[in-house]
Assembly symmetry: C2
Homo-oligomer: 163 residues x 2
């Protein structure tokens, strides 16, 4: 069985205890921006229930233009107000050489990637920058409650970074 | 208590039963691309365990440039090979007027948004396009196992869309 066939099998069991329809608008009026990392189960780690919050995730959990697009839509069309940003220890974007990565892709494919998302060294400084990017984004109507946390992949504890 | 304070409290309980460190590289060598929708708990719906798969999520679950960046990093730096795309019923991007949305943001802020991500009408046709975008992306080394599913927000069942 491929990994995907394993998931299809698990989905049948999951559906048997699924609570059924919930509203499109998130109940907690919350959007979470986090890394794609495989050790980060946001429902578990934050005690979320089905229907509670939007979950926006990319490599690094960084507020790229596409993340800001999703967040603008989340707040303007679907009623969220609070924002939580989550970076984590032992991240693949920590120490990542984005310039070399893009050069490698351009050289192999003959096409320059359209993104420019640098890796980082100091995760807490990066979080302060991420918070500032969201707070400074004019397309996001609610920017008072933007808070940032570091998830520890060894202990699962989240630790707040004050802006 | 704000929504965020509620999450902090839940995290303390979660950490008590967390299994501890897992490797940075996803065990199933899988990346999942899905919508940010609040009713989609990917760990539950796909039977994922901590450390199994990368989870990339945005508004619509659409393969934007930032999603392709994350996927390229997932495969090239962190060893994933299979890709699962998940769109879902009752999506906020279904019938979404992106042109009006961007005009509204530009008018209010005085700055034109840099993204251009249209809403969709036929979710299965959109999935076929999404699969084709990933399969056509020259920056992604492994494009043989790219499969797409529609998650039903009422029943939690996933239904495959053949490309």
């Amino acid at each position: 069985m491929s990994a995907i066939d394993h998931l299809l099998h698990a989905n049948v069991s999951y559906a048997k205890t699924f609570p059924g329809p919930r509203p499109l608008r998130p109940k907690l009026r919350l959007a979470v921006i986090a890394c794609m990392d495989s050790r980060l189960d946001l429902f578990g780690a934050l005690g979320l229930d089905i229907g509670d919050a939007h979950l926006i995730r990319n490599a690094g959990g960084l507020p790229t233009d596409d993340v800001l697009r999703s967040l603008a839509l989340s707040q303007r069309s679907l009623g969220t107000r609070e924002v939580v940003l989550i970076h984590h220890t032992e991240c693949g974007m920590q120490g990542f050489d984005d310039v070399a990565f893009r050069a490698e892709l351009a050289s192999e494919s003959g096409h320059e990637p359209p993104w420019d998302v640098p890796g980082f060294s100091d995760i807490r400084a990066t979080m302060r920058t991420s918070i500032a990017v969201v707070r400074g984004c004019l397309w996001i109507p609610h920017r008072d409650d933007v808070r940032g946390f570091i998830f520890d992949t060894a202990t699962a504890r989240i630790d707040e970074v004050l802006a």
